[in-house]
């Protein structure tokens, strides 16, 4: 096993990366190695699918499979080795189906053969071994650092940056796809980039350009996901969300998949079961089509890394809809269910919105009782739903407040939360920002400060929750609109970006910000292990990326620069 795709990866003087029997995320070596092999298999599909598209017979079903397969390999998504063995066999079948499609197209039009020559390489020729031992032997030849001795850490690091960015792209695109939103251009981009990785590229300049093209592809995907979410569930509006429980039977829904939440709300409508959001599902309360369900009663717990405590104390079953699962504890292992790309050995998986076992569990488990409410204290709320339209609707007032000097600066504090001690930087930053500044936030890092009383400036709340990490497009729209209103570029706005990264979705968003030319992003809590000193120097020089220092110093520096 060798994996350094997430922020919590093992850091040692001898080299960074999880390389033992079990990674720090809880993934065992078998599963991690099978995921490496699945990435290899996806490259083979991409090579064939790129050819099929060039021949005029695109196979978007293969594209959808690639999105799902790559999504399963993100940190904290799927830990079940059996699932990956099945996916590997499916991947070979998908690739061969696309290859056959190409051959059929050539029979129909032999002149096109020269425009799309047959792909070659190990990912095209790969055949899954018959048993687990054989698959692991194959996996040993394709780890992310396979070429290290030949091409060096910089090239391996850039390939990893592209791959991890593509994992994030795939995750976001899969979120949109399950809501019925896909685009040919996105599938083509996935095929092109994964096929490019299959060529084992070594040109540093080309690799860097490709990384930025992943960022541009992700911008398309984020816009598509924004369209999917607002198209299906309406435009989010500022909404107060109860964060203390109410009496009654209860189901907790975690992860990011709004479609899963909607399906569960439909299936529990008219019952005595209340539904609560957890973690990144919190922004669901801002969507009109979801908050229309009266039994979507509130939010429970904190960010993803708190789930072992939150879930153990929740008196009902839990549905984990997408990334962010960590090892289920014994106290709730039998009442947590996975769906979509998620998996954990021994945990029941519910496919295709077949939530009957989850609902049966909710009826059987005690739910919240009156006594529980006493210990929870008085009712509390947090406000969500400041997506693009909600903020842009008051853009005029915001601009006037800036011009009048009432708002001195904006801080966008976005990204993932995590268990690492250094992440208190983000709460220190948000709560330490001066009273004449506005904090925009998205992702689950907000849980560190979203119960803090920030107050308002001229009726504009000082804390504006834009949504999930999936809602990054809203943040980009807001920044672009403000720049337009002020007649300047985004980099000239009184705006500082403070990014808290943890896994590959954040890598994709970071690449998008860089591709948009946004400079001076503060990145933490630690820098990605796959960014070598050389690569970091390039990012600092071209984009002004800055590792975080301390919250007071970074606030002061941001305000000084903007003055």
């Amino acid at each position: 096993m060798f994996c350094y795709q997430c922020e919590q990866t093992t850091r040692l003087p001898t080299g960074d990366g999880c390389a033992s029997a079990k990674g720090l995320c809880g993934k065992d070596a078998t599963t991690a190695d099978l995921q490496d092999l699945l990435v290899h298999a996806v490259k083979g599909i991409a090579q064939q699918a790129r050819r099929a598209r060039a021949l005029g017979v695109p196979d978007n079903d293969a594209g959808a499979f690639m999105l799902h397969a790559l999504f399963t390999t993100l940190t904290n998504v799927n830990f079940n080795p059996t699932r990956f063995v099945t996916l590997l066999h499916e991947a070979a079948a998908v690739r061969d189906r696309v290859a056959a499609r190409c051959e059929a197209a050539l029979v129909a039009d032999s002149d096109t053969a020269q425009t799309a020559p047959a792909p070659t390489g190990p990912a095209v020729d790969w055949t899954p071994a018959a048993d687990l031992t054989g698959l692991l032997a194959q996996a040993a030849t394709v780890p992310v650092n396979a070429d290290l001795a030949r091409v060096g850490a910089d090239v391996v690091g850039l390939r990893a940056l592209i791959l991890y960015g593509m994992k994030g792209v795939a995750a976001y695109a899969n979120h949109a796809a399950v809501l019925g939103y896909t685009r040919d251009a996105v599938f083509a981009g996935v095929e092109e980039t994964m096929a490019y990785l299959a060529s084992d590229p070594t040109d540093m300049a080309e690799l860097l350009d490709r990384a930025l093209s992943v960022g541009r592809l992700n911008l398309q995907v984020m816009e598509m996901l924004d369209a999917a979410n607002t198209g299906r569930f309406g435009t989010p509006h500022p909404t107060a969300v109860r964060v203390t429980p109410v009496a009654g039977k209860a189901i907790l829904v975690s992860g990011h998949d709004l479609g899963d939440l909607e399906a569960l709300l439909k299936q529990t409508a008219g019952t005595d079961i209340n539904v609560y959001t957890h973690g990144e599902m919190l922004p669901a309360h801002g969507y009109p089509a979801l908050k229309a369900y009266p039994h979507l009663v509130g939010n429970f717990g904190g960010a993803w890394q708190d789930q072992q405590t939150d879930f153990a104390t929740f008196p009902g079953p839990i549905l984990m809809t997408s990334n962010c699962i960590i090892e289920p504890g014994p106290r709730y292992r039998q009442r947590i269910f996975t769906t979509g790309p998620v998996g954990w050995p021994g945990v029941r998986h519910l496919a295709d919105h077949a939530f009957a076992p989850l609902i049966a569990a909710a009826h059987a488990l005690p739910g919240f009782k009156a006594d529980d409410l006493k210990t929870a204290g008085p009712e509390q709320t947090v406000t969500v739903g400041f997506g693009g339209d909600a903020v842009l609707g008051v853009a005029g007032a915001v601009v006037e407040a800036v011009k009048a000097g009432d708002i001195r600066h904006f801080f966008l504090i976005g990204g993932c939360d995590g268990a690492a001690a250094g992440r208190n930087y983000y709460s220190d930053f948000a709560t330490g920002a001066p009273d004449d500044t506005v904090v925009l936030t998205l992702g689950c890092a907000k849980y560190r400060f979203n119960r803090h009383e920030f107050g308002s400036i001229g009726g504009i709340p000082r804390l504006l929750d834009i949504g999930q990490c999936n809602d990054s497009y809203s943040a980009i729209r807001i920044a672009s609109a403000l720049a337009e209103a002020f007649g300047c570029g985004v980099n000239d706005l009184p705006l500082s970006l403070v990014v808290s990264w943890f896994e590959q979705k954040a890598a994709a968003v970071l690449l998008t910000l860089l591709a948009l030319g946004i400079r001076n992003i503060r990145l933490g809590p630690t820098l990605p292990a796959f960014l070598t000193p050389t690569l970091l120097a390039v990012l600092v020089e071209r984009f002004g990326i800055q590792p975080i220092t301390t919250a007071p110093d970074d606030i002061a520096a941001a305000l000084t620069c903007a003055a």
Binding site: N80, T82, L132, E327, Q334
Partner: protein
Amino acid sequence: MTFHTVDLLTRDGARLSFPCAEDQSVVEAAAAADLFLPVVCREGGCGACRATAESGDYQLGPHSEAALSAADAARRAILLCRTYPRGPLALSAPFDRARILTQALRPRHAVVSERTLIGARTVRLRLTLEDEGEGSAAEFEAGQYMELEIPDGAGLRRAYSLANTANWDGTLEFLIRLHPQGHFSEYLERRAAVGDRLRVHGPLGGFTLRENGLRPRWFVAGGTGLAPMLSMLRRMAEYQDPQPARLYFGVNRAEELFALEELGALTDSLPGGFALIPCVWQAEADWSGVVGTPADALRADLAAMSGEAPDLYVCGPPALIAAVEQAARDRGVPDDHLFSERFLPGAR
């Protein structure tokens, strides 16, 4: 008192450390650190807490030879409940981190809903958990067991594997062999009645299914060692697990076979296929199935096998487990394909 550090490596790679005094067993020391290991008898009698000492000095307390043979002890196999450190100790355990509880389970009450003789001296006992403010769910992992307190038995407990799967109506199903002079057997045979109220403790135990890709799962059961196997097979059917499965089910005489109807029903519900191989040791002339022990049948099939060696799940008396382990070694099945739970009359 001198304390030493115990480092415990679980089957899934988690590392736990806690101090242990020289007069404390590893189980006691872990509990003092709010780590409740999967154990049964706590007296060196059942073998449920077998582990391996990777390094360090220790002293083994009194224990049953059936639970830990002298030969295995010489290979540094240990019983966690009978291991006392004499220096820093590194142990590896055959169960996952998730099997270690971080707070003691509260006992619950259950009511007898069925008591049926289903084979010569085998009883199916069904209990229904009372709500007691915690809901009606029966939450456990296939392969785990519960400890049942005998009514009016002065707190005497007996451990029995669950035969059903986790469910939301609170049903606990056990397959229990009636032993002469057995305390719980005496209760079951003479006094148990529908409506009786028992205290139950659990779920406990680390004998559970492992996800190893599509590797076949072969189950070997001796007598009521069938219970955890039935639970695992039923869970495989519920989850639609893709692995091919087979079950070697051994009894002494054909009339002792039981639960064949439930096992037969699994044939159509396991997507990877299921083969049931009843084995009768002392067969009459009219028995047309396998004659011999399930270990004998397993040995023959391993010899004829091609492809990936299966995972072997074994539950039964120590002699059966030893025979299966030997057959597996002789046929080149890697040690990490073997998962076993032995039961002894004292523990059950």
